[in-house]
Symmetry: C2
Subunit: 145 residues, 2 copies
């Protein structure tokens, strides 16, 4: 159902589990000149939303303010002898909300760095990006095409 932007349809249990495991996600946005821009980011779940936290208003946020069309892609742990390791490609519409970034990043630090880790940056408000998932692709039980 391309064009259907109800997010909850697409977050299967398997995809939620993959996200909860803390894969480094590649966030693709569009630069002002129309070229692609990619950053590696932490992602997490907040209820039914996929979210990420950012302490500064950097290039990817400025790109999203201009064009909310993004792609998040990330791989599951590697399996030897497999043609293509499981991976997910999420086409999404991104929106930025101010505040809450440090608390989110500190929560994700427990997943991405270790259970006793604190997010290693000064506390601050920052920004949260919320992703409305429009299509889930890739290879794995979450792929809808």
């Amino acid at each position: 159902m391309p064009g259907d932007d109800r997010q909850t349809t697409w977050l299967s249990a398997e995809l939620r589990e993959l996200i909860s495991d803390g894969p480094l996600a590649h966030l693709a946005t569009i630069n002002a000149d129309g070229s692609p821009q990619v950053s590696a980011i932490w992602i997490g779940l907040e209820g039914e939303d996929v979210v990420s936290g950012h302490m500064g208003r950097n290039l990817k946020l400025r790109n999203i303010e201009r064009d909310p069309r993004v792609v998040l892609s990330f791989t599951a742990p590697r399996e030897p002898g497999v043609f293509l390791d499981p991976y997910a490609v999420l086409r999404a519409s991104a929106r930025i909300t101010p505040g809450g970034a440090w608390d989110l990043l500190n929560r994700l630090a427990k997943v991405y760095m270790g259970p006793d880790q604190e997010f290693p940056a000064p506390k601050g408000e920052g920004f949260i990006i919320r992703y409305t998932i429009q299509r889930v692709g890739g290879v794995g039980p979450w792929a809808t095409r």
Copy 2:
């Protein structure tokens, strides 16, 4: 040196080693409507070139024919307790040449699948994408910014 498109400048020994280890790479291209498109692909080295092989003329190849500006991004193996795992983001100009895809993919199958594996698709000519690397970013010894 953004804008400098000499590829050989940027492929450090560490980056060549990371590519040779067979990371699943995220290839970002631009769709006709200006939105980002991402596929997970195998990549390899052919002399000083970064290359990938494709049996069919699919969406990413059609996107590259229209706009050669792409980003390749991939992560090194995960290290516990590290703030951001090493990863590479390569801004590149892509060009497509016909033929040779199956042989390249069969060589890469030894890296991505296992030393005794044959590429699991019918033999054919296909296409090779060659990437002229314009900037290397990310986190790791290969990052130039």
